[in-house]
Structures are given as C-alpha cells and as structure tokens.
Symmetry: C3
Subunit: 157 residues, 3 copies
C-alpha cells in the first residue's frame, strides 16, 4: 500500500486523528481475534478532557451531542490505527453501539448517533456502513454525553 | 430445502413476518461476517409506528412490554430473512441483548425479555436458545419501551 | 493438562468459584461458536441472592459496587468452567461490558468495573486483559447494582 488513503480522506474532511487514549486501568483499548477487532468504549475526549459533559437534551444540546459522537468516533479511529498500523487495513466497520447520556424526555438518540454513522461513511465510504444500536442511558463515566463501541473487520494480512 | 419450515411455524403460532425495517440513516439492518449475522437494534414497530411508547412499569404495563418484545423479535426475524433469503438458514440464535425502557423502581426486565426468548424457542426450537442480557434503561429512541439486538449463526452455504 | 492452575490461582486469592447460575427462562448461560464463548449477563448473586441491591452512589456504596462487580465476575468464571470443563482452557478474555445501576450524579462506573478488570488480570495474568465498556444505567433486573457480560476466546481443542 503506497498511500494512507483513509487518513488523506480524514484530512480532506478537515479532521485530525487524535493520539489514541490509554486506558487508566487493567484493560486494553482494542483486541484482535482473527480478523475482528473489538474496541473499548470511546468517549468524546479531546486533549485529555471531555468536549462537553452532561445529558443530551439537558445541559448538552443536540448539536453538541452530535459533535461529541463525532469526537468519540475519531478516538475510535485512532485506536484502530494504533492497533493495526493503518486505517487502510479496515475491511469494514461491522457494528457500532452508542449510549447517549439522555435527559428525561430526550428521544433523539438516533440523531446523536448519526454523528458517528455519517462520519464513518464519509471516511470509509460503503465499507463504513455498519449495524447500529442507538440507546439512551441516565449516566455515563465522567458524565460524558456519549460513549460508543465498535467491532471492525480487518483485511487479511 | 423444499419448504420454508420456519415460516410455516411462525404462521402456526398465529404470527406474521412484517416487512423488514429500512434504516433512515447511514447504517444497515444487518451485516454478515463469515457465518455470523449481526443485527441493528430492533424496536416494537408495526406498520411503521411503535406498538406503544413509554416506560415499562409506568405508562406501559408489563404485558404491553412483553408484547413489545415479541414485536421487536418479529422485526428481527424479518431482517434476518431479508438478509439471507430464508429463516431456515438460521443455524442458531447466539445472543440477544434487550434494553427495557424502565420506570423508576421497575425491575422485571427479565420478564419483558421472556417475550423475546420464548418466541425464539417457539419458532426455532432448541436452535433458538441463546445467551441473553436483560437490561434496564431510562430512555430509548422515539420513547419505545424495548430495543433488542441479536447475533445469529447461519448455516454454511 | 495435569493441574487446574487457574483454579489454584483463584484459591490463592482467597476466592471460591460458586456453582454456575441456571437461567430461569428460555435462554442458556453460555454459547460456544468456534473458539468464542459468549456469556449471558451475570449479576452479583451469591448463594442464590444478590449480595446487595440498589443504585451505586445511592443505597449502595462505591466499595459495595466494586465487591458486586467481583462477585458477578466469579459467577462468570463459574459459567465458563461449566461450559468447557476447566478455566485453563481460556485463551484470553476478549471483552467485558459492565452496566452499573447508578444513582443520579454517580459517574464512577469505571472504578466499579475495575473490580472485574483487576480480578480477571489477577486470575489469568496478561490473558485476562480485555476490551472494556463501563456504562451507567438507571435500573437492572432485581435491582442488582451491577450486570456484566463477557466474550471469551478458548484454546483450540
């Protein structure tokens, strides 16, 4: 592979891959089993702190929730790159599960998670289309507004 | 395979397979990796609208919650059929995860999810027995009472 | 394999493997697909009853939540042993997902789940390091404070 086409695409979108998060406890950011890569939950951390905290539909607006989902997605991509060396080795995104820290009466979790889904398709094209679950919850670690999980299929070595 | 035995069984149970839901965003209803089929989250949608909305143990009764879990399961079966052509190609149901939109103090999520588990065993027999997680949450998309996920093993081609 | 080295390690930690829980409905405690073992959700049940009930950060203290996560983990190990005969057949722990029944304003779900992560590494060493998702929720079955899920890789037969 001569060029990092996926990272070029990320740059074209005006985005930047962050450094991958390092878990602060006895777990790992990703784990590869055959050609499947499982990722730990990713939050909207940028430069070591959450972009925003609180419940979407409460202290956090829908727009901020979508931006948080995008940032969590960038963090997931950084974890994939750290695990396998290049995002070009992604065969496809299999599954995304998103938990949205939701104020009572907030039911637009799918719109929040579109922040993730649309970014994945913008970056990977058809390979980025995934199975998705969008869920609401009442609390997340550090009061982050969104936490996402991902399972990725990798190209054979 | 000469007859659609699984669909015959569904008809014998007095049930009908709905048309599969089409995601309204950049994701897909199912994704096959080898002989595993991952499904997107399924809600109790019938004819394009939720059977019932609200929290189980609140506006939604336990009985309505169970019925919602059954409808979400039928929708999951419709997705499987759309993906692979016939429910007879299901080798076994591996995993079901159910999120129940729960009123404060409602702890009968397993009874709600029995709506799914019992239907799967009624349809597939022993092949329908699965690993299960029943969880409560405070909110779900569109205020649906139940959302389920599924991983299915398919027969080799 | 001549000795049950993993169970010896559990005994050295002063812990005891409980009898595996039997689901009370139409699902199974675990399911093997190839060398992957999927587990049903596990709670902090000991001798048939929850160690403690309620929301962590509310009626349940952080310390009790951590102890609940450890007990749920022991129950998961018991399920693995019942499924494959010996914990020595665990190649590695792939993924842990933990749902913490959380009082409003409780954001220390990762600390609760460290009860699981640290126990897995104490028992299995590096093989016990896993991908993790720590999530908060507003209610769980029987009002248990923690529910965990696990996917395990098994050694080839």
């Amino acid at each position: 592979m001569l060029t990092e086409t996926t990272e070029t695409r990320i740059a074209e979108l005006g985005l930047q891959l962050p450094p991958p998060a390092r878990p602060g406890a006895e777990y790992v950011p990703s784990k590869r089993i055959g050609n499947l890569l499982f990722l730990s939950g990713q939050g909207p951390i940028r430069d070591g702190v959450p972009l925003v905290v609180g419940q979407v539909g409460g202290e956090v607006t829908l727009e901020e929730g979508i931006e948080a989902a995008r940032q969590a997605t960038l963090n997931a991509l950084a974890v994939i790159k750290a695990a396998v060396g290049s995002l070009d080795l992604v065969e496809e995104i299999i599954q995304v599960r998103g938990f949205v820290n939701s104020a009572p009466g907030f039911f637009l979790q799918p719109q929040v998670m579109n922040g993730t889904s649309e970014l994945l398709v913008a970056v990977f094209g058809e390979r980025g289309r995934h199975v998705r679950c969008a869920l609401g919850t009442s609390s997340l670690p550090h009061n982050i507004p969104v936490e996402i999980e991902m399972i990725v299929a990798l190209r054979p070595d």
